[in-house]
């Protein structure tokens, strides 16, 4: 394929990709109507969106070159922080959710303490081990966390009032769905801004060639820590949202493999070098799992995730969206932003 004018060539690929995304967005926006009042469909997609958001947050760290296999540590800490705070003190979840993000960031500092000199496979192994710490602590510290019984009866997300308008969030499936959708779009915007900025360029440079990045003036460790803190706090906030949406959490679930493995799988299958890839994979695979495989195999339907990641790493390591957008990876627009 010849490129005469570098700036205009990428445009040839963009329309198709953008159309696909816009179509997807339209479907998501209209889902409550399309589902015809089927609450189950809405709930599945609400959870899919949560997983998509977690995958996007996870990917911020991956962009800097660190693959985390224990992101549930941040998710779970966020869930428990917000859950406990709102349960014990009666403070509104809207206030405790940001605090959950902060708590997760503190946990991330703990990770940094052990892992800052680790790269690649050893970093991944360390995160695999690290998630055990908050999990076992939460499981055993009955006095603080109610132990393995979990937290029951968490307050739902209160309705939002704008003047005379009243939006049900936690109390209705539709409200919850739109809340998570809006949160997801917000996070997507944040991730896009980060990745198209100089911060994003620096993080990618670190991922590609750390030594060369340092020789160009990039403070490698500082930026890696920043990526970790951002990724962790956003994951924590997502965990908190989860807690108040399902209103029941227990250590095995929020610190479990489901929330540690799915971001990895979605990001890699979708495309960890793209912006939207992880979210797309989540929105396709999770509903596939729930609507198709779960009825067929009530026990063991999650084999799907194992299967797709194996296929991806062998045949499509840049993910399906990454492959589609090959050459159009996360990048600055050649026209640049003022």
């Amino acid at each position: 394929m010849t490129r005469e004018q570098p700036t205009s060539a990428p445009m040839k690929h963009l329309p198709l990709a953008h159309m696909v995304l816009l179509l997807g967005l339209a479907i998501l926006l209209a889902l409550p109507l399309l589902s015809g009042g089927n609450d189950y469909i809405l709930q599945v997609f609400t959870h899919a969106l949560l997983l998509a958001i977690l995958a996007l947050a996870w990917n911020i760290l991956a962009i800097s070159g660190s693959i985390s296999l224990g992101h549930a540590a941040f998710f779970g800490v966020g869930a428990y922080t917000s859950g406990l705070l709102s349960l014990e003190s009666g403070v509104s979840p809207w206030a405790t959710i940001p605090l959950a993000g902060f708590a997760a960031a503190v946990i991330a500092l703990g990770v940094w303490l052990f892992c800052r000199r680790l790269r690649g496979a050893y970093f991944a192994l360390a995160t695999l081990a690290f998630v055990e710490i908050p999990r076992v602590l939460t499981d055993n510290w009955d006095g603080l966390t109610r132990g393995s019984l979990g937290l029951v009866g968490l307050p739902g997300l209160p309705a939002l009032r704008f003047g005379s308008h009243y939006f049900d969030i936690g109390a209705s499936s539709v409200g919850s769905y739109y809340f998570v959708l809006v949160y997801g779009l917000l996070l997507l915007a944040i991730v896009t801004l980060i990745l198209r900025s100089n911060l994003g360029l620096a993080l990618q440079a670190i991922r590609e060639e750390e030594t060369a990045a340092a020789s160009l003036g990039i403070q490698v460790q500082g930026y890696r820590l920043l990526a970790l803190l951002l990724s962790a706090s956003l994951s924590g906030i997502t965990g908190a949202c989860y807690a108040h949406l399902v209103r029941y959490i227990e250590p095995g679930m929020v610190y479990g493999l489901h929330f540690s493995a799915t971001p990895v799988i979605f990001a890699i299958c979708g495309g960890r070098f793209t912006i939207v890839g992880p979210a797309l994979a989540a929105l396709l695979l999770y509903p596939l799992d729930q609507f198709v495989f779960h009825p067929l195999l009530p026990a063991g339907h999650e084999f799907l995730y194992g299967a797709v990641i194996i296929l991806a790493i062998l045949f499509l390591p840049s993910g399906f969206w990454g492959q589609l957008r090959k050459g159009q990876f996360v990048s600055i627009k050649t026209g640049s932003i003022e």
Binding site: E208, T211, A212, I332, T334, E338
Partner: protein
């Protein structure tokens, strides 16, 4: 005051001395070639200057400041940039982005890439002859293109001193000639250059002076023609027998 001063620089790795008491002054605007056989300590010297390793003893002065123990990213802020022996492009980023990364920490820090930065990046790509590959992934470039990208990327930082490590290794004579032109153009931009060149195909043509190392020691310094005739240098590269032949030829 010289731009770069190396004062009794030494580096030891365990039992092995990679560099012994290197003294050298590099003046602004010069192109100096760092020559010597394999294992002479050339890359180690670069690593000491740029902060990748700490010297076992000795000091590095840049523009009068002691930069001996500064870390690589700090060194860059002072105006020293380098390329690496094995080319290290940011493979999964586009060529243009590779160069723009060099702009991030030069001059004022902006949150987003500014037009001036992308324009300068484009300019540099033109300088090195990669303008037509702006959108390609850096990982897809040929060896010669990668080294040119390394050069453009390093130049993007607008360094005062540029260290080029084996930038023409594996190049055809024509490519070396083109590289020599690029080096001259870099000098015209006001960059002082310190070039490591094992086979000397580049250094002999562009350098004002040469610094020759062997087994970590300085064995010669001066104009290229003089250094090339220096007996120690010949011995280092070709072995004693050739030196004897040269000696008898002189008589």
């Amino acid at each position: 005051m010289s731009l770069l001063r190396l004062e009794a620089l030494s580096k030891r790795f365990g039992e092995h001395w990679a560099l012994k008491e290197i003294d050298f002054d590099l003046e602004e605007g010069e192109i100096v070639g760092l020559v010597g056989p394999n294992g002479a300590g050339k890359t180690t010297l670069f690593n000491l200057i740029t902060g990748r390793h700490k010297p076992s003893s000795g000091r590095v002065w840049f523009e009068g400041k002691d930069i001996t123990f500064y870390r690589p990213h700090e060194i860059q802020r002072y105006g020293i940039s380098r390329t690496f022996q094995s080319s290290r492009p940011f493979a999964r980023m586009r060529v243009l982005e590779n160069v723009v990364v060099g702009r991030i920490f030069s001059g004022k820090f902006h949150l987003f890439p500014h037009t001036e930065d992308t324009n300068m990046a484009r300019q540099l790509l033109e300088l090195v002859g990669l303008a037509h590959k702006e959108d390609a992934l850096a990982g897809e470039l040929t060896l010669s293109e990668r080294r040119r990208l390394d050069l453009a990327r390093a130049l993007a930082t607008e360094p005062k001193l540029l260290l080029l490590d084996e930038v023409v290794a594996g190049f055809s004579p024509l490519a070396v000639k083109q590289a020599a032109e690029l080096v001259q153009r870099a000098r015209e931009r006001g960059v002082t250059l310190f070039i490591v060149d094992h086979f000397m195909s580049l250094s002999l043509t562009v350098s004002d002076r040469l610094l020759a190392l062997d087994h970590g020691e300085k064995i010669a310094e001066g104009k290229p023609q003089e250094v090339m005739r220096n007996r120690k240098v010949i011995r280092a590269y070709l072995g004693t027998r050739h030196d004897d032949e040269a000696q008898s030829a002189e008589r």
